[in-house]
């Protein structure tokens, strides 16, 4: 395994800038996720790392080796494609063996390594099947085995779970992460699914418009987003534009005054109040400092979501679903409720960082 370093990487398609001066270091054995909406440049970045796209400028290095001008077939990365991209005319075992064959590995050793790789993904018994005879989940595991069997310098995952159903996705997520940690794979994961990124990655890179918005651990990005875009993209968030009144108060555009604690080093041009829905507590009745009218109650099983209108602002609150005898269980739309939060919970962030 190698480390990956991306330096000042830029990709221009005609007039549009797909990736704009990206810098990123992925340490050996680390899983870094590129997260962002479609068109943010994350896939373009991955394709440049794999060697499918030549960068307009900048460098890509595996360890110290500059691979910027190396064609894809000489880079020795193991990539899992969104569509799995299995070779339809080859069996699972032939798919897995292809990379070894290209490395001139023949006969018994190749067969042994193919079998081992298939065992690793629990498909040893299905090696002779053609891809179309396998389920989506099985195809995905063949793709994993095929990428890993060559002992790649770098493990690249392009939205690897997006074609699986929700239940399977959660399982495979854990499986891939366990495999990645066990084998110490330096991994670059591209995804638009924040849950996938949060649960799998050591570090996240949130991208938008070809540029990095923020890099950090899942926890850092979730709790300390640097701007409103990151706050909103990494998880649900109440984002209210306005301005800082003083060290303990924030005034929204509609004039609502909210309690905050601005002592942490927050950005100077912070013009939005960001607060996660689960950091707000809600109580029936209008006896608090911040009272509002309940608009909607949505039962989500373990959690319940409340939409509360305070003045002209709408707050989304997510709480653990109350037990049947708790007062909160009885609230219904049009009831008066009061909201409160720890003054340290909200973040003041700029609405855009550029």
């Amino acid at each position: 395994m190698a480390s990956l370093s991306i330096e000042n990487l830029t990709k221009r398609f005609g007039a549009s800038l797909a990736v704009d001066r990206l810098d990123l270091l992925v340490h050996e054995g680390e899983l870094v996720a590129l997260l962002g909406p479609s068109g943010c440049g994350k896939t373009t970045t991955l394709r440049m790392v794999a060697g499918f796209l030549p960068p307009t400028s900048g460098r890509v290095r595996f360890d110290a080796e500059d691979v910027t001008n190396l064609p894809a077939h000489k880079r020795s990365t193991g990539m899992v494609f969104q569509s799995y991209a299995l070779f339809p005319h080859m069996t699972a075992a032939q798919n897995v063996g292809f990379g070894l064959e290209m490395r001139g590995l023949g006969g018994a050793e190749r067969q042994a390594r193919v079998e081992e790789a298939l065992r690793l993904v629990r498909l040893a018994h299905l090696g002779e099947r053609l891809p179309r005879e396998l389920s989506g989940g099985q195809q995905q595991r063949v793709a994993l085995a095929r990428a890993l069997v060559i002992n790649p310098k770098l493990f690249l995952l392009d939205e690897p779970l997006s074609n699986l159903d929700a239940k399977l996705r959660a399982e495979v997520r854990i499986e891939i992460r366990a495999l990645q940690q066990r084998l110490g794979l330096t991994t670059l994961l591209v995804t638009h699914d924040r849950e996938e990124a949060l649960t799998m990655a050591d570090r996240l890179v949130v991208m938008e418009g070809g540029r990095v918005r923020q890099i950090g651990s899942p926890r850092e990005l979730y709790d300390e987003p640097q701007d409103a875009f990151v706050a909103d993209f990494v998880g649900r968030c109440n984002i209210l534009p306005g301005r800082r009144e003083n060290e303990t108060q924030f005034r929204t555009e509609s004039g609502l005054v909210l309690s905050v604690d601005t002592t942490p080093n927050e950005s100077k041009n912070a013009n939005a109040f960001a607060l996660r829905p689960e950091r707000i507590s809600i109580r029936p009745g209008a006896e608090g400092d911040l009272n509002g009218l309940l608009q909607a109650v949505t039962y989500l099983g373990p959690q319940t979501e409340y939409h509360v209108r305070v003045g002209e602002e709408l707050f989304v609150v997510v709480r653990q679903t109350p037990g049947a005898d708790e007062p909160l269980a009885a609230v219904k739309p049009q009831d008066q409720v009061s909201l409160r939060w720890d003054r340290k919970a909200p973040r003041l962030v700029p609405q855009t960082s550029f």
Binding site: H73, R75, G78, F81, L86, F87, I150
Partner: protein, 278 residues
């Protein structure tokens, strides 16, 4: 999805189900009526076809066998169709590859031009080629018209548009990611083409070969002016026969023709599911 939708429709015992089946039946009848009429007629005993036939007979098959022009025509047609496919399919495939993958000026125009032979009536194309061959013969001092080469060259023009169409379709449906995956695993561009792209194009190419063969095998209008003595294709031989006689001998010959094409389609279908390509 459409298959399940259809299944759904078929399961519901209702008016729509009956209507659906009736329509399908009518469609099949329309498609198979001429073919089955030809096959039936080839067994009718009397010379002037009337219905119902007084008796059934193999006589016309014997009659066809006795006429050397039909057997010779069959051999010539098979030969020309085979050669035209062998020459035309690789050319069409290469052209299709360039059209789908290449990026060069005039791509659209070339793509249209390659399909153009489909739009030109065969007789017109045939007479054009005839004149061209005469000119070329004068210049090169070499026989072209009324030779197998001349005929094959003309039939290659039938193979190319079909091949381009079918192979373009199969290339457009091809998952480029599989090629990238191969490169990712260490295959150089040539190996990617040989081991991944070409096998994935195979259904389209096989179907193209079959269609090219059939197009050539049953072509009449384009060949009409280009055949020569001893180099007469089966359809032209049939037309020649028709000038003097009209009896079920032709139906017998046509039945053999239909049989050959039918066998060819069945065999091809075993290698590639035609319904997936065409």
């Amino acid at each position: 999805m459409p298959a399940s939708l259809l299944a759904n429709l078929m399961e519901r015992p209702s008016f729509s189900r009956v209507l659906m089946r009736t329509l399908v039946l009518i469609a099949y009848l329309i498609i198979f009526a001429p073919v089955s009429m030809i096959i039936a007629t080839s067994f009718f005993s009397q010379e002037i076809v009337s219905f119902p036939p007084p008796a059934l007979t193999w006589h016309w098959y014997g009659n066809a066998w006795d006429k050397p022009e039909f057997l010779r025509g069959l051999v010539t047609s098979l030969q020309v169709a085979l050669l035209a496919s062998v020459v035309g399919v690789p050319i069409g495939t290469a052209a299709a590859f360039a059209i789908v993958r290449g990026d060069f000026p005039g791509k659209q125009a070339i793509s249209a031009l390659l399909l153009a032979p489909l739009a030109v009536p065969g007789v017109v194309a045939g007479s054009g080629l005839y004149m061209f061959y005469v000119l070329a013969e004068n210049t090169l001092d070499h026989d072209i018209k009324a030779t197998t080469q001349g005929l094959v060259a003309a039939h290659v023009l039938l193979a190319i548009p079909w091949t381009v169409r079918l192979v373009v379709a199969s290339l457009q449906g091809l998952d480029r990611a599989a090629e990238e995956a191969a490169a990712n695993l260490g295959a150089n561009p040539f190996t990617v083409f040989r081991r991944i792209t070409l096998p994935m194009m195979r259904p389209g190419i096989v179907a193209a070969a079959m269609f090219s063969f059939i197009q050539s095998f049953e072509n009449l209008d384009l060949s009409l002016l280009l055949v020569g003595p001893g180099r007469i294709t089966l359809p032209v031989a049939m037309l020649n026969y028709l000038e003097f006689r009209i009896d079920p001998t032709l139906a017998a010959v046509a039945t053999v023709q239909i049989l050959i094409v039918g066998v060819l389609m069945v065999v091809t279908d075993r290698f590639v599911k035609l319904s997936r390509v065409v």
